[in-house]
Assembly symmetry: C2
Amino acid sequence: MGDVAREIHTAGGGSADAPACSIQASLDILGDRWTILILRDAFRGVRRFADFQRDLQIARPVLTDRLKRLVDAGVFQKQLYCERPPRHEYRLTAMGMALSPALVALMRWGDEWLSGGQAPTVLVHEPCGHPLDQQFVCWECDETFTPHEIASRPGSGTPAGFDTDTDTETET
Amino acid sequence: MGDVAREIHTAGGGSADAPACSIQASLDILGDRWTILILRDAFRGVRRFADFQRDLQIARPVLTDRLKRLVDAGVFQKQLYCERPPRHEYRLTAMGMALSPALVALMRWGDEWLSGGQAPTVLVHEPCGHPLDQQFVCWECDETFTPHEIASRPGSGTPAGFDTDTDTETET
DNA sequence: GTACTTGGTTCGGATTCCGAACCCACTACG
DNA sequence: CGTAGTGGGTTCGGAATCCGAACCAAGTAC
């Protein structure tokens, strides 16, 4: 095994144009050291160029480029919020908001494995104020489950199939 | 508004050493174009240097470096699986497996927003074979909810507080 | 008309990335 | 024993990227 993975990749991932995996597609947009931090700030409510710049200590040209790319990708929307002195802000679109689970997952991972559980910021369920959890859910079985119960299947475009539960006992 | 976010950052994010946000900490390890793809492969069952290399078409030195970094970070564990010709493999540790939600989130985002719903690979709940979902869960309220119901709070290390639900109506 | 703010762009220099080529240990084979 | 082949790297120089500083431009405040 390992052949399986290669096979799947060879089969579906001729790398013609669309990558075999959406992760790759996502990374084409997000795969850069700054982009995700910019998005994190956006989720925190930052919207203006200068605020991003101040927060992130990012070089202006780089920020300009990243914002432009994110706007082009449809993650951000550039809006004039003041006409007299022309000022605009970058707001998350629905596409951008949809990145929330990814950002949250990254944050939780960092909290747990890098900050020793000392989460600098804790996310909570707003109505009740209790910490939130992020889970895999199967609406058929109506239950949550762990990564070990995930298998994968070919989608539209991938002829062959395999599953990933082989790494179930990776670290025992 | 927008001030709130700046305020929180100024307060908690002096950037002394530990970043104000675990996302940043995570990105210090994962924030590179290849690392996440390597992890994706790992989740697919790839474990050997040559297989990663073949799959990703990544330059050898870069792969060497990334694997080493991931091993140092504790995401991978380097193991000898054959002694006579010394061969080793890179396996995900518990820490690595814990990245599953992040990878899944990225993949689902790519599926939905970049591949037009034409998911190259579909993740399913293994026992039943139905597609999985990923949700925010509040175990207090015992319900799932959307990003709009997320608020954030200072954790251990962040003096001031704010919330993010201000972007609730970002794209209406 | 001078200063200040927001939101940039241009311009080198310093990093970092990466691909090609080389290296080493070991096995297979004749 | 000598040659080829494979897994797993390292070294090296060119290319892309990052970034800091400086400059620009529109508008407002005084």
